[in-house]
C-alpha cells in the first residue's frame, strides 16, 4: 500500500511538521538507505552510523530540497553512498571490498550449500542485488545513485547477476528435487 503514495506529498507533509510524512519517507526509503550502506561492505555498526547520518542530513536539509521532493529517493541513495564511502575512507573505497562480516553459524548439508551460493556470488552482483531487492523496489535512478552505475546498464547487469545466481542454484535445486521424491 505504501508504494502508491506520492513521495512529493510525503516530503511536503514532513516539511510541514507532520510526523506521518517523515514516517512515510522512512518507510519508503529506509530499506534503500540501509541496503546502500550495506552494499559498501560496512560492518553493521558502521552501516547503521552511515544510515543514521543520511537521515540526519535529510532532516537538516529538507527545507532546501524542495525542487527534489519528487526524487528524494535518488538524493537519499546518493547521500547514503557518500556517507558510506566517507566512513570507509577514500583509500579503502578505491579498492575492491573484502567482506568484514561475522562468520555464519556452522551449518551442514543443504543449508551450507545454500549459504555458499549467496556468499560466493561475485561482489558486484551481491552489491547490486542487495540494493535492487530492497522493499519497496527502488527505481533504476535510485539504484544508479546508490551504486554509481549508469542507469542504462542496470537492466543488463541485473540479468547477468540473476543468470549467475540461477546457474549456482541449479545443482542445489536438483538435489532438493531428489530429496523430496
Amino acid at each position: 500500500m505504501g508504494a502508491s503514495i506520492d513521495v512529493r506529498d510525503l516530503a511536503l507533509a514532513a516539511a510541514a511538521g507532520d510526523p506521518r510524512g517523515w514516517d512515510g519517507l522512512v518507510e519508503r526509503f529506509g530499506g534503500l538507505v540501509w541496503s546502500t550502506t550495506r552494499a559498501y561492505g560496512l560492518s553493521p555498526d558502521d552501516g547503521a552510523d552511515a544510515a543514521q547520518t543520511t537521515w540526519l542530513r535529510l532532516a537538516e536539509q529538507l527545507g532546501r530540497l524542495q525542487d527534489q521532493y519528487g526524487q528524494l529517493g535518488v538524493w537519499l541513495a546518493a547521500t547514503a553512498r557518500r556517507e558510506s564511502l566517507r566512513l570507509l575512507g577514500a583509500a579503502r573505497a578505491a579498492e575492491p571490498l573484502t567482506q568484514k562480516e561475522p562468520s555464519p553459524p556452522p551449518s551442514s548439508g543443504r543449508d551450507a550449500l545454500l549459504w555458499r551460493v549467496v556468499r560466493e556470488l561475485p561482489e558486484h552482483c551481491r552489491r547490486l542485488l542487495r540494493v535492487l531487492l530492497t522493499t519497496p523496489p527502488p527505481s533504476h535512478e535510485e539504484v544508479s545513485a546508490a551504486l554509481d552505475l549508469p542507469v542504462d546498464g542496470i537492466a543488463a547487469a541485473r540479468a547477468a547477476c540473476f543468470q549467475e545466481f540461477r546457474h549456482r542454484m541449479a545443482t542445489i535445486s536438483i538435489r532438493t528435487e531428489v530429496e523430496d521424491s
Binding site: D23, W115, V118
Partner: protein, 595 residues
C-alpha cells in the same frame, strides 16, 4: 517435503517464587510431593483449556496453546488457563498449609507470537525462540501470585480481561522495551474481542429476504424446513442471523443455539434451546418425562426430546431455531439437525444453520441431502464494506478516502473491516492514506485456523501455490510439487476450492485465485525461508525453460530469483533489518524557494 511451519501460539510460563527458601523449609521428600501435586494441577488446568504442557524446567511449567492445532481463541484460552491456575494453586495451598505448613507462590507470564513448529502429525516438535523467551521474562518480573500478559496477548483478549499496565521492561538481550499488563480479572463466557453486532446490517437485503420468504412460505411440502447459511469466517453469518431473528421475532418464536467450541455436545445445544423456550413461554422445560437430562446417555431420548420441544412450541405459532457455528459440530449434532428436519411432525418450523465452508469439507454428505436450501454468503462489495466502515467508526471519524482504503484492504470481509478499524482508531494519529500497518492479530488468528485445518497434503499444495502467486495456474503448482504429489494435485486443488480457500479464476486457463490476499500471505509466511528460496528458484527455472515464453515472463523470472536471493541472503545474515532513524525534522521546517 518440509513440514515445519511458522505459526502463532500463546505460551504460558509459570514458576514457583522462592522455591529455594521452600527447599530449606521442607525435607526433600515433602518438597517433591508438594511440587508433584502442583505439576498435576498445572497439567490438568492447561489441558482443560486446550493447552499442551510442553515441558517442566526445574520448578517452571511451560504450556503452549496452538499446538498441534491452532484455535482462533488460543490467546484467550491461555489467559483463562493462567488465571485458573492461580485460583487452583490457592486451593492447593490450603491443603499444603494444613499438611506441610507451606504455600506455593506462582508467578506467570503469558505471551503470544510466532514460533517454528514441526509436523502436527508427528507429535510436533517445537522451537521456542523469542516468543518463549519473552513469556519467561514476563514470568520473571511478575510479582508472586501475579499473571503478566505481553502486549500481543493483551490485544487478543482485551474485551475479556481487566488489566493494569505495568512499567515496560527491556528483556535481556533485547533493545526495545516490552509492554506488560497485570491481569486483574477474567470475565467468564466472553469473547476476547467483542463482535460489533450493533452495526447496521449492510448489503444483505437479498439474503434477509430469502430467509423471511422461507419463514413465511412455510412448509413447501415439509413440516420443517432447513436452510444452511454458508460463508467464510467473519463474512457476517452471525450478524445476518441476528438481523433475521430480530425480524422473525415479530411473528415467530426464535430460539438461538450455538455450537460449543469442542463440538461434542448435542445435549448442550438442546439445553440452550430448552432454556430459551422455557423463558419465552413461562413454562418449565419439562415436556415429556425428564428427557432434558444434559448428560443423557440415550441419544434417542435426546433427539426425541428436542423434537417434542419444537413440536410443542409449533402448536402455538411458528418457530425458528437458529444454530450458529455448525462447522464446529461433531456428527451427533448434525444428525440431530437432520433428524429434526425429517421427523418434526408439526408445521411451521424453520431451522437456520450457519457454518463456515469447512463444514462441507469435514462432512461432504451435508450438501448432498441434509443441508436443505443453501444460502451462500459472499463478501460485501467495496462500496458496502466502506459504508460499514463509516458506521463502525462513528460520525466524522474517518477522513475522505479512508473508508474505501479499509474496505479494499478487507476485501469485503466485515470482520476484517471491524478489526482493522479498531486497531487504527486506537492509535492517536491513524496513518490514513499511508500504509495501514500490520494485520490485526485477531484476523491473523482467523486465517491461521483456516490453514491449520488442512491435511498435510492440502497444506503443502496451498503453500506451493502461494509461491506461484495470488493467482496461479495448475501447471505452475505442478512444477513446484514434489513428483510423488503430482498425480494427486488436481484432487487436492479441488479440495482446497471446496473449502473455499481458493476459487476458480476465469481470467486464465485452469487458474485459481486465493480467496483473500491474507490467506495467500499466511500460506506463504508459513514456509520456512530456506524452502521459499528453493521454491522460487524452481518457479523461475520452469518459466525460463518454457519454449515460447512470453516477454512478461522475464519480469516474473526476475521476481522469483530476486525473492530466492533475498531469503538466502537473510539466512546468511546479510540482511539485518534497517535501523530506525534517530533524526527527525524539528517540527515545521522553513521551505526555501527552488533556486
Amino acid at each position: 517435503m518440509q513440514r515445519e511451519v511458522r505459526k502463532t501460539v500463546s505460551v504460558v510460563f509459570s514458576d514457583v517464587a522462592g522455591s529455594t527458601a521452600l527447599a530449606e523449609q521442607l525435607d526433600p521428600e515433602s518438597l517433591r510431593r508438594a511440587m508433584t501435586r502442583y505439576f498435576e494441577v498445572a497439567r490438568r488446568v492447561h489441558q482443560r483449556h486446550g493447552g499442551v504442557v510442553e515441558k517442566f524446567i526445574g520448578d517452571a511449567v511451560m504450556a503452549v496453546f496452538g499446538i498441534p492445532h491452532v484455535h482462533e481463541d488460543d490467546a484467550l484460552r491461555a489467559v483463562r488457563a493462567a488465571w485458573e491456575l492461580r485460583e487452583q494453586v490457592a486451593d492447593l495451598n490450603h491443603e499444603l498449609e494444613r499438611e506441610l505448613g507451606v504455600a506455593l507462590h506462582v508467578r506467570t507470564g503469558v505471551n503470544t507470537g510466532l514460533v517454528l513448529a514441526g509436523d502436527a502429525h508427528e507429535g510436533q516438535a517445537f522451537v521456542g525462540g523469542d516468543t518463549v523467551n519473552v513469556a519467561a521474562r514476563l514470568e520473571h518480573v511478575a510479582g508472586a501470585g501475579d499473571v503478566l500478559l505481553g502486549e500481543a496477548t493483551h490485544k487478543l483478549v482485551a474485551d475479556a480481561v481487566v488489566v493494569q499496565p505495568v512499567a515496560p521492561f527491556v528483556p535481556r538481550g533485547k533493545t526495545a522495551p516490552v509492554a506488560a499488563f497485570r491481569l486483574l480479572e477474567v470475565t467468564p463466557g466472553v469473547e476476547g474481542l467483542a463482535r460489533r453486532l450493533d452495526a447496521p446490517l449492510v448489503g444483505r437485503d437479498r439474503e434477509l429476504a430469502t430467509l423471511e420468504d422461507l419463514l413465511d412460505r412455510g412448509g413447501g411440502g415439509r413440516a420443517c424446513q432447513l436452510v444452511t447459511v454458508l460463508g467464510d469466517a467473519g463474512v457476517g453469518k452471525t450478524r445476518l442471523l441476528h438481523a433475521f431473528a430480530e425480524r422473525a421475532g415479530r411473528r415467530a418464536l426464535v430460539l438461538f443455539g450455538r455450537c460449543p467450541a469442542d463440538g461434542s455436545a448435542a445435549a448442550e445445544v438442546v439445553g440452550q434451546l430448552a432454556a430459551q423456550a422455557a423463558a419465552a413461554t413461562g413454562r418449565p422445560p419439562a415436556w415429556g418425562s425428564g428427557w432434558l437430562d444434559p448428560v443423557a446417555t440415550d441419544p434417542h431420548a435426546l433427539f426425541r426430546g428436542a423434537r417434542r420441544l419444537v413440536e410443542t412450541l409449533a402448536r402455538s405459532g411458528r418457530v425458528v431455531v437458529v444454530l450458529d457455528d455448525l462447522h464446529l459440530a461433531e456428527q451427533p449434532l448434525l444428525d440431530l439437525v437432520e433428524y429434526l428436519r425429517d421427523f418434526t411432525g408439526e408445521a411451521g418450523v424453520l431451522l437456520v444453520a450457519a457454518a463456515r465452508r469447512e463444514l462441507l469439507a469435514r462432512w461432504p454428505w451435508w450438501t448432498a441431502r441434509a443441508a436443505g436450501a443453501v444460502l451462500d454468503l459472499e463478501p460485501l462489495g467495496e462500496a458496502e464494506a466502506a459504508e460499514l466502515a463509516v458506521h463502525l467508526a462513528g460520525p466524522g471519524r474517518l477522513p475522505a478516502g479512508a473508508a474505501r482504503q479499509v474496505a479494499a484492504w478487507a476485501e469485503g470481509n466485515p470482520l476484517f473491516v471491524e478489526q482493522l478499524l479498531r486497531q487504527l482508531l486506537e492509535r492517536p494519529d491513524p496513518p490514513w492514506g499511508l500504509d495501514l500497518g500490520p494485520v490485526p492479530p485477531a484476523v491473523e488468528a482467523l486465517v491461521a485456523v483456516e490453514l491449520d485445518h488442512l491435511t498435510a497434503e492440502e497444506r503443502t499444495v496451498l503453500e506451493l501455490a502461494s509461491v506461484a502467486g495470488r493467482v496461479f495456474d495448475w501447471a505452475s503448482v505442478a512444477a513446484l510439487a514434489p513428483p510423488r504429489l503430482r498425480p494427486r494435485l488436481g484432487g487436492v486443488l479441488l479440495a482446497l476450492a471446496r473449502r473455499g480457500l481458493v476459487r476458480a479464476w476465469r481470467g486464465q486457463e485452469d487458474a485459481f485465485s486465493f480467496r483473500h490476499r491474507l490467506l495467500r500471505d499466511a500460506a506463504y509466511q508459513a514456509i520456512p525461508k530456506r524452502e521459499r528460496a528453493l521454491l522460487h528458484v524452481r518457479a523461475a527455472e520452469r518459466l525460463a525453460e518454457a519454449v515460447s515464453a512470453p516477454a512478461e515472463d522475464d519480469e516474473t523470472v526476475g521476481r522469483h530469483l530476486g525473492q530466492a536471493y533475498r531469503y538466502l541472503a537473510q539466512l546468511a545474515g546479510e540482511e539485518p533489518p534497517p535501523p530506525v532513524p534517530a533524526a527527525r525534522p524539528p517540527g515545521r521546517v522553513p521551505v526555501e524557494a527552488p533556486a
